[in-house]
């Protein structure tokens, strides 16, 4: 019996089941779920549960009960609220609800679900940065319009960015567009990893524009380096 009888009724049960089976096929799934006492210890430790209508207990419970309808609902409405802090590894049953959510998110991205597309809206520049340059945040991301809630301090940094970076003793940190200097061979190797592990296909599922841009950047580099058997 499902605990979510009226949710997403327009989606056939088979499709919801297919997504659940994809989660279960992830090798980590078995390591992260052993059942659930429904004790709520994970909820007490969970920061997102304090702020959102969100519960790691419900996630673990739905998966342990194999409640396909409820799992589909969570896949759409809940998983992106998690902070991935792993406070829930306090679980006395040995579950890792945060780890289960990582797996669920991957399935959402792999299948281009609306929840994944929504969650990643406005996030493309960060994905571009990490996949394209090898570091996740760069000094030049500190712009007042990106962080208005951090106050005038951000403008001060962006106004002085070049000279403040040159005032750093470690020579690898004299960069403004990457967090540190990453050499060309290393970047090429990273591009190869994204292609060889199916990450490029994941990006294509959720953001075709970003996929095109990344592919443009990577294609020639990989070819020049002799990685043409992708």
């Amino acid at each position: 019996m499902t605990l979510a009888p009226n949710s997403y009724t327009e989606i056939p049960y088979e499709e919801k089941k297919r997504l659940f089976d994809e989660m279960r096929a992830d090798p980590r799934y078995q390591d992260h779920l052993y059942g659930c006492y429904e004790c709520g210890i994970c909820v007490a430790a969970c920061p997102s549960a304090r702020f959102y209508d969100f519960s790691p207990r419900k996630i673990a419970q739905a998966l342990a009960r194999q409640d396909v309808e409820l799992i589909y609902e969570q896949l759409n409405d809940d998983i992106w609220n998690c902070s991935q802090c792993f406070s829930c590894t306090r679980c006395p049953r040995g579950n890792n609800p945060g780890g289960l959510i990582t797996v669920m998110r991957e399935v959402a991205v792999n299948n281009g679900l609306g929840s994944a597309r929504d969650a990643l809206e406005g996030y493309g520049r960060v994905v571009y940065k990490i996949m394209g340059t090898g570091t996740q945040v760069s000094p030049d991301m500190l712009q007042p319009n990106a962080f208005p809630d951090w106050g005038p301090h951000v403008k001060e940094i962006s106004d002085h960015l070049d000279v403040w970076r040159r005032a750093l003793p470690p020579e690898t940190l004299h960069t403004t567009t990457t967090a540190w200097q990453v050499d060309d061979r290393t970047i090429t190797e990273l591009y190869f990893i994204w292609h060889a592990t199916g990450v490029m296909e994941m990006i294509e599922e959720v953001d075709e524009g970003l996929y095109e841009i990344l592919n443009d950047v990577m294609e020639d580099v990989l070819e020049d380096a002799g990685f043409d058997d992708l």
Partner: protein
């Protein structure tokens, strides 16, 4: 909110530690895989310090010859964090490698967007480990998330031969060796292991300073059995890193009830859903610290935690919340205690929350130090100098507290 008095926490220690660790020792499996010829184990170089982990096992923390696996958020937005780690190593006269053939672990993005998978994450980790091995330096992981994530990756690679085979074939194509380090070591473990060396070189008296410590989630909640616990610190009931360092330097570490809570970083939240981050950081962490401990400084040991706890206070202040406590890493705090320049080394001008009253209380003449830093900036701006270098900084006499 009420906290359990520390003496009671400390008393629990001997009664609670199990006679046999409840988890397997993954490092034994790592060596078995080497015996089977599947990978090389990168040995911890000597000399090393042996420390105790959660269930009483021993972990080796190497002293020098380290490959600094840098952190995106530290290098990008709070660069005094990374610089202070290097500076501490230089002050002890230790050789190290600050590599350019390192990528991010990419886990911040993975935990934020899930636009990756196990194989990609493991390949990124093993490429970095391979690069460290080739440089004949042992990896020292600056970021708490990289550290926790790499330990997860190690578990996955050990548990799943198919994953191992796939990642190995990628490393083969890249021409990199397939190497697993004997230990995965966080910089704060190195700082913990070296704390008495720092105390011996300390020039400031910190006995009037009260700190609160935020233990980073990805340090002690991922692969929990591998984090450092010390019977002398919280009775071995909480991780000892950071706290032990502040205490060794003579500061008082005050307790607060929400110590286990995360900082509110949230990975995706800090970038695109900061309403959560701001509220959690100020209401569940900073305000509780102020109410219960009234600290002069918050010390922590991870990129996201310093960023979140520091930057979130601006909006908290606008809403009249009880905020306004400076935040830094314990590495920066230790460096200041040893006379590091607050701006040239610790780069505190990249931090948001007002820290000058703290510097004054520590006995640092921040006005004079800022003037010196501005002189450097003028030289850079005029073209007289292209960069500030380690030679410039190493040549400086240590700033003692007496000139304030």
């Amino acid at each position: 909110m009420s906290k359990i008095p520390l003496p009671i926490v400390q008393e629990r220690r001997e009664r609670q530690r199990p006679a046999t660790p409840p988890t397997e020792d993954i490092r034994e499996k790592v060596f078995e895989i080497e015996d089977a010829g599947e990978w090389t184990v990168h040995r911890v170089p000597e000399p090393y310090t042996e420390v105790t982990t959660k269930y009483g096992r021993t972990k080796k923390i190497p002293h020098q010859g380290l490959w600094h696996h840098k952190s995106c958020g530290q290098c990008g937005h709070i660069p005094g964090y990374s610089t202070a780690i290097f500076w501490l190593m230089r002050k002890l006269g230790f050789e190290y490698d600050d590599p350019k053939d390192q990528t991010s672990c990419t886990a911040w993005n993975y935990y934020a967007s899930a636009t990756s998978n196990s194989a990609a994450q493991a390949a990124v980790a093993m490429r970095n480990f391979g690069a460290a091995y080739e440089s004949e330096h042992f990896p020292l992981i600056h970021c708490g998330t990289s550290y926790g994530h790499y330990k997860d990756v190690r578990e996955e690679l050990v548990a799943h031969p198919h994953l191992r085979a796939k990642v190995r074939s990628i490393l083969d194509k890249l021409g990199r060796p397939f190497v697993m380090p004997e230990e995965i070591v966080h910089y704060s473990e190195w700082v913990y292991a070296m704390r008495h060396e720092f105390a011996a070189r300390q020039v400031l008296d910190l006995s009037e300073i009260t700190a609160t410590v935020h233990p980073a989630c990805h340090y002690h909640k991922l692969v929990v059995e591998d984090a450092i616990y010390d019977p002398d610190i919280y009775g071995g009931q909480r991780t000892a890193v950071v706290t032990a360092v502040a205490q060794a330097l003579g500061a008082e570490v005050a307790d607060y009830s929400t110590w286990f809570d995360c900082c509110g970083f949230g990975f995706r939240h800090i970038l695109v859903q900061r309403d959560f981050t701001r509220s959690f950081a100020t209401q569940r962490k900073i305000e509780v610290m102020v109410d219960e401990a009234n600290p002069d400084v918050v010390l922590t040991h991870d990129t996201g935690c310093v960023t979140t706890l520091d930057q979130s206070q601006f909006s908290g202040k606008a809403h009249g919340r009880k905020v306004g406590v400076p935040v830094m890493s314990e590495a920066q705090f230790a460096a200041l205690a040893m006379g590091a320049h607050p701006y040239k080394v610790c780069q505190l001008h990249w931090h948001n929350t007002e820290n000058r009253p703290l510097l004054e209380k520590m006995g640092i003449d921040w006005k004079e130090r800022w003037r010196e830093f501005e002189d450097e900036l003028k030289q850079l701006e005029s073209g007289e100098k292209e960069y500030v270098t380690w030679d410039d900084v190493d040549a400086e006499p240590v700033a003692t507290g007496s000139d304030s």
